[in-house]
Amino acid sequence: MDGAPTTAPEVIAGEASPSVRPPLARVPLVLNRRNFDWVTNRIAGAVEGPTPRWWWVSFAITGGIAAFGLICLGYQISTGVGVWGLNHPVGWAWDITNFVFWIGIGHAGTLISAILYLLRQKWRTSINRSAEAMTLFAVICAAIFPGVHVGRVWMAWFLAPVPTQYGIWPNFRSPLLWDVFAVSTYFTVSVLFWYTGLVPDLATLRDRTTSKVKKFLYGVFALGWRGSNRNWRHYEMAYLLLAGLSTPLVLSVHSVVSFDFATSVIPSWHTAIFPPYFVAGAIFGGFAMVLTLMIPARAIFKLQDIITPQHIDKMAKIILLTGSFVAYAYAMEFFIAWYSGNQYEKFAFYNRIFGPYWWYWWVGMLFFNMLSPQLFWFRWCRHNIFVVYFVCMCVNAGMWFERFIIIVGGLHRDFLPSSWGLFIPTWVDIWTFIGTLGIFTSLFLIFIRFLPMIAMSEVKIVLPEADPHHVTPEQHHPVAAGGMERT
């Protein structure tokens, strides 16, 4: 305590003086000292101009694929699940693989919007809007599969806990019902969070547009927002709480998805490591998809000053981190299979690497998921767009293979060799999955055409002049204004 009175004034004097430069200056999050107006013009401008030709071409392709996927779904619903390659030992295959794949992709969006917000990671502001949109579209694609997998789609309302004349209720102790609640809650909360973040930006579009129709539509959805601090006060609290609510929610969703497997007695499914392993894998695969979408988008819309190499570098590091979690989980599964001494468990993992689906493991899990992200240990790789894109593509594919190995690999050879079988996908299986890729990309194209793909009001907060204690170069000498930047 003796030292406190003498040191305290010095520290305060140092903070107050604008001429003190931080010892380790941070790289700015928005490059080239762009101002508020530039941010608005660049992001809103992407929505306002005439529809570019590349957009129509891309949309025609993805829309066509999506339409064919919907035709496959219609054929499957009208004919029956027999049009898929499902058979007796393999009752879950591409459908549930696709479900887990898509729902996992959604998780990166919520991680960026909620968990990084709570951790005060300001770089998230450049990517959170499009990552959240990606979440919604991925969950829409995911929801299709369990929906049609029930076989008689018109009976899907049996999942809902409503009183009927039969007096039958769903079984609340089943992980499949937990899944219904988890996924629908996840989708709803993600929509609320996304829309809440969108309101100030819709107001920006409303105030800029010259078209009466657009002004009306953006105006209605902007709810009369006018940037009042009496609104911001409650808005910021709501945003913080939604982030706080989404954080355990996103961790719960993939945990519940993993319960679908972990609570069963199938060898290689019945493992306690599944919930954290699934969550890490979801974030891993989701970040790869975020980068897959953002790397072209930032080039097309010339957003390199907002989505900077620093952002890509940080996302690559998260891929490396979660990829290493996943690699650890894969290794631990093998170790436990051996250590358990259980012959069925041991066989399941022997079968994983040497069985009929051996190459799925060697290519998908080993090369794509475990090895390819290790490139991100090197700074050069994290800063080379082509390497980043290559790794992301590997991870996108690898995470699909992983789910296929877990699901089909677990089912096709269980306890009795007499009941073993193989799964071979039909064209309907394949095209339904490709169709959801089309639905996903079509929805994303519609999103970037009509809504601001970057949260303008949030990016503005990270500019130095948004700080109420910011001093302009005219007020003080230039070193002070550039104190937070390294040029």
Binding site: W169, A238, L241
Partner: protein, 184 residues
């Protein structure tokens, strides 16, 4: 209050060149004792609630109520059918109270769901949104508020409102384009 031309006056507003200028002006308006006034900015300004003399938002209390409602809903929804309406032993799990761990996931999900809805509707209702229009939009310059404009308005309804004093205060705090904003 009306202008000589018969327009009802909403208040007097000024534009400020930066977030920092608006922040300093807000502190002075707060200290001058005004109650019905507001600042407008393209993004939330850190520390502005204190500069305006507003406390912490009590929205969190609403969200807590929402969460408790969700939890109660889940308890009724799960125990009602499983223990009373259609009791059934599935996977060897009992239907009395001790089956409760199997109910935790849905209790958790509904708590989150109801809390999120509470947060979503509360921020709108507490901010008197949605609304079709606002007198501030009658001022042409105000369009910039969603781009890079920083504004402060003192309402005519404020008990301390006196046109000359407010004009002088806004000019003294560095306000530019000080304007009388009409109601319609």
């Amino acid at each position: 209050m009306k202008t000589p031309y018969g327009h009802r006056v909403y208040g007097i507003a000024a534009e400020y060149p930066s977030a920092a200028a608006l922040y300093e002006a807000a502190k002075q308006v707060r200290d001058a004792g005004f109650k019905r006034w507001d600042v407008f900015s393209p993004f939330p300004i850190h520390g502005m609630d204190d500069a305006m003399g507003l406390g912490k938002s009590w929205l969190s209390a609403v969200v807590l109520c929402g969460g408790l409602t969700g939890l109660a809903t889940a308890c009724i929804l799960e125990f009602g059918p499983s223990s009373f309406l259609y009791p059934l032993i599935v996977h060897g799990k009992p239907y009395n109270f001790w089956t409760v761990p199997a109910f935790f996931p849905i209790m958790f999900e509904l708590t989150i769901l109801f809390s999120a809805f509470a947060a979503f509707f509360a921020w709108q209702i507490m901010g008197f949104l949605p609304r079709w229009n606002h007198p501030m939009f009658n001022w042409n310059r105000f369009k910039r508020v969603t781009n890079d404009g920083f504004f402060l308005a003192i309402e005519a309804r404020d008990p301390r409102f006196a046109e000359n004093e407010v004009l002088a205060l806004l000019e003294r705090t560095g306000g530019q384009h000080v304007t009388v904003v009409h109601e319609e």
